[in-house]
């Protein structure tokens, strides 16, 4: 390649730059959760029995359904991007819509999961939580905090995907210019990936 033209010199658009930028940002997100994983491992190491007993309060079925939902939604986002590369605008929009729908189902599931806990008086700051043993208290604190923060990221991801969907519809994002779609997709994969770690840490521990 003797003539690599740097498009950004003349144009204000640089897809590679925005891709690098997105990857770097995703890296910081992983580190953000990394801090929490670190805290989780320290406290789990100190309270192995309590963590094990506390996890039995969580419904593996609910967690499993949500894992499957997110995995499928990652696939639909990937399909949306490939469809865009193949100039299939209709399929792209359909797949983005489907992803958003799956994300919504995930949140509804989460709502029922949390809601059941709340009904039993189990929420951060509640009397029940305060009277738990230290290990159980830490487990549920981390559970609410980490899945809560993950939920916030789901909402951010949904916002990004919704903006992308609108732009695809308007034609602002098209087969010749779909970096926004790709970045939103990357972000969605990150949200999915974090859940893949949260699920075993909270639902499947032995």
């Amino acid at each position: 390649m003797e003539t690599t033209i740097n498009p950004s010199v003349d144009l204000h658009r640089d897809d590679t730059a925005s891709k690098i930028g997105m990857w770097l940002f995703i890296f910081t997100e992983i580190l953000l959760f990394g801090g929490l994983f670190l805290v989780y491992s320290v406290y789990r190491f100190r309270n192995p029995v309590a963590f094990h007993l506390a996890h039995e309060e969580l419904s593996i079925t609910m967690g499993f359904i949500n894992t499957v939902i997110l995995l499928i939604s990652s696939a639909t986002v990937a399909i949306a991007i490939t469809a865009m590369q193949k100039h299939n605008k209709k399929l792209t929009m359909m797949m983005l819509g489907l992803t958003l729908l799956l994300a919504l189902v995930f949140l509804i599931n989460k709502y029922f999961e949390w809601g059941a806990k709340f009904e039993h008086g189990m929420y951060p700051g509640s009397e029940l939580m305060a009277n738990l043993g230290h290990g159980d208290m830490l487990f549920f604190s981390l559970y609410f905090f980490m899945t809560g923060l993950h939920g916030v990221h789901i909402i951010i991801g949904m916002t990004l995907l919704a903006i992308t969907l609108v732009k695809v519809k308007k034609g602002a994002v098209h087969a010749g210019k779909y970096q926004l779609l790709e970045n939103s997709g990357l972000y969605w994969h990150l949200v999915d990936l974090i859940w893949i770690f949260l699920f075993p840490l909270f639902y499947l521990i032995h």
Binding site: G21, L31, V39, Y43, S141, F145
Partner: protein, 536 residues
């Protein structure tokens, strides 16, 4: 046809008028130079208010007993002084002002990769600053935890910690986005011919800084989020009475906040590395060694956070490992000092204010560095931990290092930024007074610390009085020097005179364009054929 040279006058960045004019034009600008100045003016405001807080504290310590304020006010004051100086001045400092202004020019680009994100970062910075300041007025009084927010006190005090922590969180976000922007810019926008090994060294230090910002800041972000959750929701992360671990807080805090010291100092070292070859009229000695040492500082600096916690409770193995790693950081730092001095050797030195600032930087930075070895070794640290010695040490590094480099950079690039030249004689006098005041202010604190005076106390026993008096007098002298420097610079702004494009005869790209730089920096992107310091 007669040859004609039509001087088509490109609007420079100061007079350029975009969609909006006046203040609105500045607040909506995506020009990296204007954003640099936005940072500069807001930062100077915060810096000067931090200076006033410092002066008040020094006045309180002029004699034993209560002078101006009681213990609680003093606690609030050193917390706010720390928050302002650390989060609003030295961490963004050199990188946000001079990095924004000069990074694109130095690599031959028209702007950073994400100009709008760049403006967004500035807004985040301002919002974060406002939230930090709000913490002073809302709730049950200003936070009194110190800028470190150590648990469990930060969880139990009635003061308004949540707002301060939220502000710091937002500022961290701003810092991450700036670092990200710079990294991508250097990867994508270097002018043709400018390989990585032809990049000016200031850019290299910004590159290292960008990576530390990306790698370290998220950790403190999540830690602050946990503190908020603990205070607002009663989640027991760090409070031992509900199962948490306060030592874990210290670890998480310093995993960011030690690398943050390198976020502060690396760009400062970069500035010094730019100044010295220009005035020594010589190519920098050991270009590659400086790059490697910068990256080594960034890398090793990530693994030394434990040296803040030698007395907090750690296994003896971790203590000596952290101590060893701390000593290792001294090596790349020393390499830089040798490179700077070797560059001057046999150079034809042109003594000008920026060069004198650089020399002053090396002097105070070395005192700071050597005292760092004292606190970095296990036995002596136990003696001086949490004393005025530590305060003296980090002011020599953070203020003496980053602060001196900031003013050095300001004197170096001022003619480029504003196309005006300040009065050189007054600049030198200001520096001399500032330098004397600085040493008189902080050097006695080494002695006080060794004698056992604790830090963060508003009162002390009579035996510490003479040294404290000296230190307070030093603070006045330093403030005088600062006023002279700033008045000199702001007067230069109003002076009429011919624009100077290259007053120091510098060889890096920013000196090849007119002053003040045109809006797009370069009419035509330059092609680079030599290294950055092509003096001989």
């Amino acid at each position: 046809m007669a040859e004609q040279t039509i001087h088509h006058h490109e609007p420079n960045y100061l007079e350029y008028r975009g969609k909006y004019k006046g203040l609105a034009g500045w607040l909506t600008t995506t020009d990296h130079k204007r954003i640099g100045l936005l940072y500069f003016y807001s930062m100077m405001t915060f810096f000067l208010s931090g200076v006033v807080m410092g002066l008040l504290m020094k006045y309180e310590l002029i004699a034993p007993g209560e002078q101006l304020m009681g213990a609680q006010t003093y606690n609030g004051l050193f917390t706010l002084h720390g928050l302002t100086m650390i989060f609003l001045f030295v961490i963004p400092g050199v990188a946000a002002v001079f990095g924004n202004f000069f990074l694109p020019i130095l690599i031959g680009a028209k702007d950073v990769s994400f100009p709008r994100l760049n403006l967004f970062s500035w807004y985040l910075y301002i919002i974060g600053a406002i939230v930090v300041l709000i913490s002073q007025f809302l709730g049950d009084g200003p936070p009194d935890t110190g800028w470190t927010f150590y648990a469990p006190y930060s969880l139990r005090t009635n003061t308004n910690v949540v707002a301060a922590v939220t502000g710091a969180f937002i500022l961290g976000f701003s810092s991450i986005l700036t670092g990200l922007n710079f990294i991508v810019t250097m990867h994508r926008l270097r002018a043709p011919g400018m390989g990585w090994m032809r990049m000016p060294l200031f850019c290299w230090t910004l590159y290292g800084t960008g990576w530390i910002q990306l790698l370290a800041t998220p950790i403190v972000g999540i830690t602050f989020l946990m503190v908020m959750a603990e205070r607002l929701l009663g989640i027991g992360f760090f409070d031992p009475t509900i199962g948490g671990d306060p030592i874990l807080y210290q670890h998480l805090f310093w995993i960011y906040s030690h690398p943050a010291v390198y976020i502060m100092i690396l760009p400062a070292m970069g500035v010094i590395t730019e100044i010295i070859p220009t005035f020594a009229r010589k190519t920098i000695f050991g270009y590659t060694a400086i790059i490697i040492s910068s990256m080594a500082i960034a890398f090793v600096g990530y693994f030394v956070w434990g040296h803040h916690m030698f007395t907090a409770g750690m296994s003896s193995t971790s203590r000596w490992v952290f101590s060893l790693l701390t000593f290792l950081v001294a090596i790349p730092s020393a390499i830089k000092v040798f490179n700077w001095t070797a560059t001057m050797y046999k150079g034809s030195i042109n003594i000008q204010p920026p060069f004198l600032w650089a020399i002053a930087f090396i002097f105070v930075f070395m005192i700071g560095g050597f005292s760092g070895l004292v606190v970095g070794s296990l036995a002596t640290d136990i003696h001086v931990h949490d004393t005025a010695f530590v305060v003296a040490h980090f002011h020599y590094i953070v203020f003496g290092g980053t602060g001196f480099a900031f003013f050095g950079a300001l004197h170096y690039w001022y003619p480029k930024m504003f196309a005006k030249m300040y009065n050189i004689r007054i600049a030198n006098i200001g520096l001399l007074i500032f330098f004397i005041g600085f040493n008189l202010l902080y050097f006695p604190m080494f002695y006080l610390g060794l004698m056992g005076m604790p830090r963060r106390y508003y009162d002390y026993i009579p035996m510490f009085e003479p040294a404290n008096l000296l230190s307070t007098i030093g603070s006045w002298i330093m403030a005088t020097g600062l006023i002279i420097i700033l008045v000199n610079l702001s007067r230069a702004r109003k002076m009429t005179g011919k624009a100077v494009d290259d007053p120091w005869d510098g060889k890096t790209l920013e000196w090849q364009i007119q002053s003040p730089p045109p809006v797009e920096n370069f009419d035509e992107i330059p092609t680079i054929t030599t290294g950055p310091y092509d003096y001989k």
